[in-house]
């Protein structure tokens, strides 16, 4: 009993704290409620982080194996929490600027994070599904948080419909898988799919296919990506930042677990499907990003491509189940979250000036008016493009290294060619910032300390992560060892 509770302790803490935050928020009569609730939510995140750190190194499984507490789960939970914390910091100002001072925002972020944390620790299909729903439903609301804005409404509706479809596919896939194997727990799945009769069953095949489609929708992998640019563009920017980072971490964490734990013996069919998804996402994500003039859309396509890179690591893991693949995936996720959040943070900074929008031209001459902000953005973009010495480079290095180790050379080559294409649109932003003269004297950015600190910290991490990646890499390696030896 006690062990069961320990296994879900971080989720428990965060869920309880979010209720506390809600209660305080309801009865608060403070005039700066927004700030207060943001602070409380931040404290909840920090507390949960502390719990995760305290639990580091444990390898437990609870409730008969349906939830697992291991280093990978903790690591990815912490990454989700970082994403949530950064989103809260970025949002507090943003909400005031868009004139929508609703404190529920923070609560919904917290609840969604609980879902993410459940998902990355799931040891069983239905738990995974519950995590996914807990994650998604608050996000549907968040996407439509700018109610007066038609684009935001459109984003919410689209996200909801697509999400519902994805959930449907996933759930049906789970049901079929259960029908074929008689279990939903990963370790038992692995056992039963290793027998010839079950592995070849068409019901299982259909179930797995549907699950894959569900995941692909959630991760916005090409060709299931159509919704992503619209939703990313329409949603409030902090929500976009959260969606493009936290959700990916959660879904990839679950996918790695499913493939490594549950379906390790089914390499053939999944392998091909996965690598095609990865290749398509990398190529199309990058090519479609080339022509974008809206920064949010651009980053949306770039995040599709990044999902492709991460999937390369998953594919490598699937075809050669050594510790290296998931290590690379976790590491990439951590780096990706930091640099992507940073890029969105700069976007929020730029949007904070009066009349500031989100077009590429709005960054024109930023290096002259705000050299530090421009420098930070350059760090993020070069890191996203995979240039050394930034963190993104080391992450890509691991992922493509895993692919080469697994003998999937073509995936590595597609990956680097994709990065090559990507450099073009990242450079377009840098060109606007550094090589175009500002058309007129731009008004100063008026953003709070919280946003600036978040962006600065992310930039510092992006640089230091590349220079001193040893410690993190080792932590990630520990994480994966545990996964490999269940």
């Amino acid at each position: 009993m006690a062990q069961n509770l320990i296994v879900v302790l971080p989720e428990l803490v965060l869920a309880l704290l979010s209720v506390v935050v809600l209660l305080i928020d309801i009865f608060s009569e403070s005039r700066s409620r927004l700030r207060q609730t943001a602070g409380l939510a931040m404290m909840a995140v920090v507390l949960t982080l502390a719990v995760c750190i305290a639990l580091w190194g444990k390898n437990l499984s609870g409730y008969n194996g349906i939830v697992r507490l291991d280093s990978m789960g903790l690591l990815l939970s912490m990454v989700c929490l970082v994403s949530a914390g950064a989103t809260i910091l970025l949002a507090s100002d943003y909400l005031r600027q868009i004139g929508s001072e609703k404190t529920e925002f923070f609560l919904l972020i917290l609840l969604s994070t609980v879902g993410m944390m459940v998902m990355v620790k799931a040891g069983e299909l239905l738990t995974l599904f519950i995590g996914l729903e807990t994650l998604s439903i608050p996000l549907y609301v968040l996407a439509g948080f700018r109610r007066q804005e038609p684009r935001s409404q459109e984003a919410a509706l689209k996200y909801f419909l697509m999400g519902a479809f994805a959930s449907g596919f996933l759930l049906y896939g789970i049901a079929l898988t259960y029908a074929a194997t008689g279990t939903t727990i990963f370790s038992e799945l692995r056992h039963s799919t290793s027998t010839e009769a079950i592995a070849g069953s068409p019901i299982l095949l259909a179930g797995l296919g549907l699950m894959l489609v569900g995941f692909a929708f959630k991760l916005a992998l090409v060709p299931f990506h159509m919704w992503a640019p619209d939703v990313y563009e329409g949603s409030p920017t902090p929500v976009t930042a959260f969606m493009s980072t936290g959700v990916k971490v959660a879904a990839f964490g679950a996918l790695v677990r499913l493939l490594g734990g549950g379906l390790a013996s089914l390499q053939e069919g999944w392998g091909t499907a996965l690598w095609m998804l990865a290749a398509l996402s990398i190529l199309f994500g990058n090519i479609l990003a080339l022509k974008q003039n809206n920064l949010k859309r651009l980053l949306a396509y770039s995040s599709i491509a990044h999902a492709g890179y991460i999937l390369v690591g998953v594919v490598a893991y699937h075809s050669l189940p050594t510790a290296f693949g998931p290590w690379a995936v976790s590491y990439y996720l951590a780096a990706y979250v930091v640099m992507n959040l940073g890029a969105f943070g700069v976007l929020i900074l730029v949007q904070s000036r009066p009349g500031g929008a989100e077009k590429l031209e709005d960054l024109r001459g930023l290096s002259q008016s705000h050299p530090l902000v421009a420098l930070c953005m350059t760090f993020f973009l070069l890191s996203l493009a995979g240039m050394p010495p930034f963190w993104g480079f080391v992450a890509k290095f691991y992922v493509f290294g895993a692919a080469i180790q697994a003998g999937r050379y073509y995936l590595a080559i597609i990956g680097v060619l994709g990065s090559l294409i990507s450099i073009f649109y990242y450079l377009r932003i840098i060109v606007e910032m550094y090589m175009s003269e500002p058309t007129e004297p731009e008004p100063k950015l008026s953003s709070s300390l919280a946003v600036r600190v978040t962006v600065g910290a992310a930039a510092l991490l992006t640089l230091l992560g590349g220079l001193f990646s040893s410690g993190l890499a080792d932590a990630a390696r520990d994480a994966i060892r545990m996964l490999i030896t269940p």
Binding site: M387, Y409, I413, S419, L420, I423, M435, S469, S470
Partner: protein, 575 residues
């Protein structure tokens, strides 16, 4: 420690320039801060030359610190003769390029000098890296500042040129990264789980009795191809050269000097440092192909240079031609070829660097680079004319100046492989003389009939000072190259020896090596004459041997075993 200091000291300058507003310094101090930093850097690189032990094998001033342990990635730096010379060249050209920008750069000075210093860090880091991963990191670090230098301070089409430069180079380097990973994982497999990117460790892997290098032949072949694309784009070898004229024409003077003087060397250096030692069999297998490309580059670059109407573009294409000499020398795979290629790298850095400075000087005065806009300048600017002449003569390989030494030694190397190839390469020298002298004639002689040119001022002291060190070095290498050859001797010898050994072990005395076979045929050698060549020389004399009616020259140098390697390589089959 010295090398670490050299790598990171320019960053101190960057930080100082970044912090200038904090201390209330006017932005006009940026150039002085940068000059100071680069000056100290150059001074501190001199001990490398003085303290370098020319006789010692292996690397000197080594530092090794674990960096990313789980991958065996180390911060491992060190120099041998080859990289030592290039580090000093980098420090010198960096200082000159900063000093030459005083009058040309008036906008966003702080950023400009910061980028130049950042670039210096990247370049020196790349030259001293002995870890493939570290090398790749520095290789890419060079890219970004250069991109900004072209893109912000460049000419009219700067954005196009900058992005082209960036994409081309990045295309090559990502493929190179895959090549590096390929080597890494094969080493890991062959060594039973050891992971390292360390060049020295990778080379220490024992050759088995069957002569199997840890990389099988087909893997080597692929790895070589991948690395080749990365390096060849940087050199640039035809057909990967098209980014170069654009980048050069659009770049500011300092950018052109660094680009021609140092960045182009990076590719050739990487062939010598990584391709040859790590992939010796593939290097030999690919050598005829690379030699062909090099010869094409020599001739094609010269022909295209001849037709240019823009001075910078002309010099850019002449770079393609001259770098063709360098790669041709390297892939002759013998002592003379590689030594000559290395010397020619330095020479090209000096002479082309000087030529770009010279064009930059006139561009600052007239804001045009078109040859047709000039004529008869020698009367108005005598000092300028003299310096231009020296640089031109150096570039075309006039005896007494540096270019001659390099090209001649390379020809010696190529000659041993094939007389036809040597003849083609020699043709390139003649064409080089043609286009350079024609350029000089059109700009300097004839009537000075353009009214804008009437009032041109001759060079002032600062401008002479930017050129002076290069001119001095040109004469020094041209008249007394011995010290340079000596410093390069051990590393060159080691490379040649390594390739020979790996190849011998694997193929059994070169029977499959077309290069060698062609040499045998072309010389029509018989055992007797080979035998005479095989005898080690002991006298420190300049000499000439007659082999089948062909003269084989040897430059004066001590130790006297100049010919031993080429001879033993050449004589492999007859043994």
């Amino acid at each position: 420690m010295l090398l670490t200091f050299l790598i990171f000291f320019p960053l101190v300058g960057v930080a100082a320039i970044a912090l200038m507003p904090t201390f209330g310094l006017d932005k006009s101090y940026a150039k002085w801060l940068a000059t100071l930093t680069a000056g100290i850097e150059l001074l501190c690189s001199v001990p490398l030359w003085i303290g370098f032990d020319a006789g010692a094998t292996g690397f000197q001033w080594e530092t090794k610190v674990a960096w990313i342990e789980s991958f065996g990635i180390e911060y491992h730096i060190g120099v041998d003769g080859l990289s030592m010379v290039l580090v000093i060249l980098t420090a010198l050209l960096s200082l000159i390029s900063i000093y030459c920008s005083f009058s040309g750069i008036t906008e966003r000075e702080r950023e400009f000098y910061a980028f130049l210093l950042l670039l210096e860090t990247g370049m020196i880091g790349a030259f001293v890296s002995l870890d493939l991963f570290l090398f790749y990191v520095f290789w890419e670090v060079m890219l970004v500042p250069m991109y900004f230098l072209i893109g912000v301070w460049g000419g009219e089409q700067k954005l196009y040129a900058a992005i082209k430069f960036f994409l081309y180079t990045l295309f090559g380097s990502v493929l190179m990264l895959i090549g590096i990973l390929l080597i890494y994982f094969h080493y890991k497999e062959a060594s039973g789980g050891l992971s390292t990117f360390d060049l020295v460790k990778l080379m220490q892997f024992p050759l088995s009795a069957q002569g199997d290098f840890f990389l099988g032949k087909s893997t080597q072949w692929w790895a070589f191809l991948l690395l080749f694309v990365g390096f060849a784009i940087k050199v640039p070898m035809v057909p990967f050269h098209t980014w170069l004229p654009d980048a050069h024409v659009q770049a500011p003077t300092a950018g052109s000097v660094i680009l021609a003087g140092v960045l182009l060397k990076m590719g050739a250096y990487a062939f010598l440092r990584f391709s040859l030692p790590l992939l010796p069999e593939a290097s030999i297998a690919w050598a005829p192909f690379l030699m062909t490309l090099s010869l094409v580059a020599i001739i094609y670059g010269a022909l295209v240079a001849m037709m240019q109407s823009d001075m910078k573009k002309l010099i850019a294409y002449s770079s393609v031609s001259h770098m063709g000499f360098v790669t041709a020398g390297i892939f002759a795979l013998n002592y003379e070829g590689i030594a000559g290629g290395t010397i020619q790298m330095v020479n090209h850095g000096l002479s082309t660097g000087a030529l770009f400075l010279i064009v930059g000087l006139i561009y600052e005065r007239r804001h045009t680079k078109a040859i047709a806009d000039f004529g008869g300048l020698s009367a108005k600017m005598p000092v300028y004319a003299m310096l231009f002449l020296i640089a031109t003569l150096s570039s075309i390989g006039m005896p007494g100046l540096n270019g001659f030494i390099g090209e001649f030694t390379i020809l010696l190397g190529i000659f041993q492989v094939s007389k036809v190839w040597a003849a083609i390469a020699a043709l390139g020298i003649i064409m080089g003389a043609a286009y350079m002298l024609w350029l000089y004639q059109r700009v300097m002689f004839g009537p000075c009939d353009k009214p804008e040119n009437q009032a041109l001022k001759d060079l002032d002291l600062r401008e002479i000072l930017t050129l002076a060190p290069l001119i001095v070095l040109m004469f020094w290498i041209g008249l007394y190259p011995k010290p340079l050859f000596e410093k390069l001797d051990t590393s060159t010898r080691a490379t040649v020896e390594w390739v020979r050994k790996a190849n011998e072990a694997s193929y059994g005395a070169y029977t499959n090596y077309k290069h060698r076979t062609s040499l045998q045929q072309s010389h029509g050698v018989a055992g007797k004459e080979e035998g005479s060549l095989l005898a080690p020389e002991s006298a420190a004399v300049s000499r000439s041997d007659r082999v089948s009616g062909q003269v084989v020259w040897s430059l004066p140098r001590e130790g006297g075993d100049w010919d031993r390697h080429s001879a033993s390589v050449g004589g492999g089959e007859s043994r």
